[in-house]
Amino acid sequence: MIRFPGSNADLDVVWVIRKVAGVNASLVWHKEFRHGIYDAIVLPGGFSYGDWLRAGAIAARSEVMDEVGEDVLNGVPVLGICNGFQILVESGILPGALLPNTSGRFICGWVKLRLLNPRGPWLKLAQHGLVVDMPIAHGEGRYYVDEEPINRPMIKYFDTNPNGSSYDIAGVASESGLVLGLMPHPERAAEQILVPDDRTPGGLIIWRSIASALKEGW
């Protein structure tokens, strides 16, 4: 987990990876991160650099993202959650852009998502069309892309689109699925105790997938 000034969901991810995925995890301050050390990387949620200028814009230009880029070239899986997704998009590692929600308001709540064309380490155990629940919490989650991306894993909002994103896209991955970014928070949907009465822990699919992928390949 790479922590930027302003990241705030980093410890949450550390907890879930250790406890739910059963994988060793460390929190690394952005100045101290170097490529070639870790088997997988997570860019967590939060408000890096206060989301000033544009969400993820300043973090995307920081030195640590050059290191992350190196790791991506070497086949290290990278997951960007919420602000992490924004950083991946701003740094060009994933396509598209993330704009303010059409309602003009921050929105926190649970949504249903559909996983499409799953491949790669983060979605290894998912089937095409699987519907899961996860919470969102963002003010700039409106994913924008000119043409619908094809031939890559995607996560789409299932029953309602909370922020006006193009093609109902909530998350998108690189073609091989090595790098996955999504606005919803899978670390908040990995333990039954935190899930509302009428929902299920939809984040588990991602954590179980990466655990399996790291142990057995993908």
Binding site: P5, Y49, G50, W52, L53, A57, I58, R61, S62
Partner: protein, 88 residues
Amino acid sequence: MYVIEVIITNKENVRDPEGETIHRSLVIRRGFNDVAGIRAGKYLEFRVNKPSCREALEYVKELCYKLRIYNPVVHDIKVRASGSDSCD
């Protein structure tokens, strides 16, 4: 039809964390040291149907105040005609 631009910034003596952070953590950090400072603000463009440029300006100033498009306690506001139009 007149195009009136409104730029809203924090008052000079009111903290501007957005401008400060962009300056320090992005611009200076990446070596553009000749930038002495940055102020962040909001830009709005109004297309106004009034017979003269002066009236259009006054109209926008008034509505920005009445509707609290800016908060006079914290914000400064520059209202000007855009581009080649000039008033005053």
